[in-house]
């Protein structure tokens, strides 16, 4: 968001959280479901890895319309962008969503893509581009994102320095339930920025009284009251400032600052006695909090104004002790950070499972370096840097594991090669023998099939003769040939017998021809079944043979290439990890230095004030004055 909006009048963005992706109905694509399984657990690297693989696979299939991902392809395209966004890969997420936007898809899908793109551009501090993306939304906007789109538009206008446009949009959002508190607060800020201060103050007053039990809404209500109180304080309206600060919850994130400001409002209105109440309450709170430390000086100041110098001197003395202890704590924290303990504490596995783990860090007894950094750690920039550090740690772990895995892959390949290579020559020789036999039988089958096909059109019963009949026919033919060269009394008798035999055989061949033809087809069918089984076995063998070779051959290049890529990536990750870590430590030390300088300044003030208060107390004692 624009820098100009940061600080006291920063707009609220919390309600722009991403919608939960859920899948309606039973999933038909297992791998897409698996990607969602990881995404729902916040494991976006694994989710992206699986979804990228599934989308690539979908892109490779010949008939994508038959692929199970087809039912979810639009959702999957969106999910990639979503997961990338959640994995803090804004650059890639933007590209993925732009691709959906430029594709030939329905208007509601395009509108949702435009909204998501606008959100990414806004998060990237590019409000101009965000507005352009919002401009691509046309026609009816889906109900589930309608209010979010308009809220984003208002925030974009504010970031672009167009508060009047933001006011128009935000006015329409005042009844939006999902934006309760946020729309009201932002409208107040927009009115102030557009020069309508009285209206802005009234709006903030309204936002500060919103009734809700929602954590986010109550936090924004507190923020509204803080801003309103500060404005009232600046305009010297101490009563209304007091009212606003009093509305801030006593146990919320703004409570310490509210108590401190409330005391200052009293003091500004010269109601010193009233200021004792919030400040008295505040000094008993967390001694590392900046507001509490300021209150330790402010409380005796109020007492001195009330001319209770003895009490003031005592409290200034206590403040001095406290500041010394805190300075020691700050120094210890700086030493601990320089020793690398801060980063170690941040990556502790057991606390990261918790949503509020940064806050939880403070409760760990052995993490003093984090005591002064809760506020810093809650800031957006720090969270981004920290998340990047944690992501880099995760990448480092993965790359290390992969690097170790290559040796195992090579081992598997070596063992497979050692097993298959001696066996394959013998197997191949035997297979070649069987292969030639098989080819011969297949040729015979084809020949038979052709003959049967032929006699369907030109019947040739002799072709269906049995082996005995063929022998008998041959013998008859030979006898007949012999009889042609003979003569004598028996010639005619023999000729007649031969003809009778021939007739019997011919009669049988012709009368049994239909049955024989049917039987021949049945036999051929049976033979085809056997051939099919044989061919299946043949194919299975060829496939197994190929699989055996593929199980160890052809991996060397890809393993070596991947090993190099993993090594290079690991170097880059380690370099970035070191830089990111150093930056986090530098930011933490900067913060501690600032706090240290402030504590030192407080110490000087307290030293002077304690002496002054003792002097005044002694003087009063000597003159017998009473406060």
């Amino acid at each position: 968001m624009a820098r100009g909006l940061q600080g006291t009048f920063a707009v609220a963005l919390t309600a722009l959280a991403l919608a939960r992706t859920t899948v309606a109905g039973d999933l038909r694509d297992l791998y897409f479901g698996e990607a969602l399984y990881y995404a729902y657990q916040g494991q976006y690297f694994d989710a992206l890895q699986r979804l990228d693989a599934e989308l690539a696979q979908h892109g490779r299939v010949d008939e994508p319309e038959l692929d199970s991902l087809q039912y979810y392809i639009k959702q999957a395209d969106f999910s990639v962008g979503d997961f990338e966004l959640r994995y803090r890969m804004h650059l890639r997420a933007g590209r993925a969503i732009k691709a959906v936007l430029d594709a030939d898809v329905d208007l509601p899908v395009k509108n949702e893509a435009a909204y998501r793109l606008a959100r990414i551009e806004f998060q990237k501090d590019q409000p101009g581009d965000a507005l352009q993306a919002l401009g691509r939304i046309q026609g009816t906007v889906p109900d589930n994102i309608k209010d979010d789109v308009e809220f984003l538009r208002a925030n974009v206008y504010l970031a672009l320095g167009q508060p009047t446009d933001a006011v128009d949009v935000l006015k329409r959002l005042q009844t939006a339930q999902g934006l309760k508190g946020f729309a009201a607060y932002n409208l107040g800020i927009a009115l102030l920025q557009s020069g309508h201060s009285p209206e802005g103050v009234r709006q903030l007053d309204k936002a500060g009284q919103i009734d809700s039990r929602e954590t986010a809404t109550t936090a924004i209500r507190d923020k509204s009251n803080m801003v309103l109180g500060s404005l009232m304080l600046q305009s010297k309206d101490y009563t209304h400032a007091q009212l606003a600060f009093d509305r801030v919850r006593l146990e919320g994130p703004y409570s310490n600052r509210a108590l401190l400001s409330s005391g200052w409002a009293d003091v500004s209105g010269q109601a010193y006695e009233k200021a004792l109440v919030p400040w008295g309450l505040l000094i008993g709170r967390d001694p590392t909090d900046a507001a509490v430390q300021e209150a330790k000086l402010a409380l005796p100041f109020a007492y001195s104004k009330l001319r209770v110098y003895g009490r003031a001197a005592l409290l200034y003395g206590q403040a001095l002790d406290s500041f010394s202890k805190e300075l020691e704590k700050v120094d210890a924290s700086m030493r601990s950070i320089r020793a690398g303990n801060f980063l170690k504490a941040l990556v502790r596995e057991e606390i990261q499972h918790d949503n509020v783990w940064v806050v939880r860090l403070r409760t760990l007894p052995d993490t003093p370096e984090t005591f002064y950094l809760t506020e810093l750690m809650a800031s957006n920039d720090f969270q981004t840097a920290l998340q990047n550090y944690l992501d880099l740690e995760d990448l480092h772990r993965r790359l290390m594991a992969w690097q170790g895995g290559f040796a195992a892959f090579e081992d598997v390949i070596r063992l497979r090669r050692a097993n298959y290579e001696p066996l394959l020559p013998q197997v191949d020789a035997h297979f070649r023998e069987l292969d030639s036999q098989m080819r011969l039988r297949l040729e015979q089958r084809d020949h038979l099939q052709k003959r049967l096909q032929d006699i369907l059109t030109a019947p040739r019963p002799a072709l269906l003769a049995t082996a005995d009949e063929r022998v008998a026919l041959e013998q008859v033919r030979k006898i007949e040939a012999a009889l042609q060269h003979s003569s004598g009394a028996e010639h005619d008798t023999l000729q007649a017998r031969v003809q009778r035999l021939q007739g019997v055989l011919t009669w049988r061949l012709y009368t049994e021809y239909p049955e024989r033809l049917t039987q021949a087809h049945k036999d051929l069918h049976q033979l085809n079944d056997d051939v099919r089984k044989l061919q299946e076995q043949y194919t299975a063998y060829v496939r197994a043979r190929q699989a055996a070779v593929h199980s160890y051959a052809g991996y060397d290049h890809s393993i070596s290439r991947l090993r190099t890529r993993v090594g290079e990536a690991l170097e880059r990750v380690d370099m970035l990890l070191a830089r990111q870590g150093q930056l986090i430590e530098a930011v933490a030390i900067d913060e501690l230095n600032t706090r240290r300088q402030r504590l030192e300044a407080y110490q000087v003030q307290a030293r002077y004030a304690v002496a002054d208060s003792y002097d005044r107390a002694l003087k009063e004692h000597a003159t017998g004055d009473k406060p």
């Binding site: 859920t22 899948v23 309606a24 109905g25 039973d26 999933l27 297992l30 479901g33 698996e34 969602l36 399984y37 990881y38 729902y40 657990q41 916040g42 690297f45 992206l48 890895q49 990228d52 693989a53 199970s68 994995y87 803090r88 890969m89 650059l91 890639r92 920039d381 981004t384 840097a385 990047n388 992501d391 880099l392 990448l395 993965r398 790359l399 992969w402 892959f409 598997v412 390949i413 496939r543 197994a544 699989a547 593929h550 199980s551 991996y555 890809s558 991947l562 993993v566 990536a569 990750v573 970035l576 830089r579 990111q580 930056l583 530098a586 930011v587 900067d590 600032t594 300088q597 300044a601």
Partner: protein, 163 residues
């Protein structure tokens, strides 16, 4: 005033550095994801070739109130996987996520899959169920989707789908 001005300058400098680093981190994430994709492909080819590849997936019936504790899978009488679910994992299943519980190799032909589940019903009662299925492994990879449901849902307790 002076402390504040210095602090703001340091903050600006740090913010610039963080932004620059953030872009580099995004680039390296992209590279590592691309390596992961290639590695995944290599692993699948090397360890789970398509002719023997078998994967078993677990999902929960939509809207089911069963609080799943564990799932056990046996293939041909041999334990293949046993999984105990954390709160986050169960939530992911209930929202429609699908867990790949087992990836392995198996020969072509007829096989038996046995799935056992334990959990708690909405009433707080313990619940367990076991069912066996026959499946055929062909030459292509075999994906088995096991959908689980509690007895109150009116759906089959364990349903097998093949892909």
């Amino acid at each position: 005033m002076c402390i504040c001005a210095m602090h703001v300058r340091a903050e600006d400098h740090n913010r610039e550095q963080m932004k620059g680093l953030d872009e580099q981190v995004q680039e390296v994430k992209s590279d590592v994801l691309s390596i992961a994709a290639d590695l995944n492909q290599l692993e699948e080819k090397l360890l789970y070739p398509s002719d023997t590849h078998l994967a078993v997936f677990i999902s929960l019936a939509q809207g089911d109130t069963l609080r799943l504790d564990s799932v056990q899978v046996q293939i041909d009488g041999q334990p293949a996987a046993r999984y105990i679910y954390s709160f986050k994992e169960l939530d992911a299943l209930q929202r429609g996520g699908i867990q790949r519980i087992y990836t392995g190799n198996i020969a072509s032909g007829q096989h038996q899959l046995e799935v056992s589940l334990t959990g708690k019903l909405a009433s707080g009662k313990d619940y367990s169920h076991t069912e066996s299925f026959q499946f055929t492994k062909e030459i292509k990879p075999k994906l088995l989707g096991v959908k689980l449901a509690g007895p109150d849902s009116g759906k089959p307790a364990i349903e097998l789908g093949e892909w």
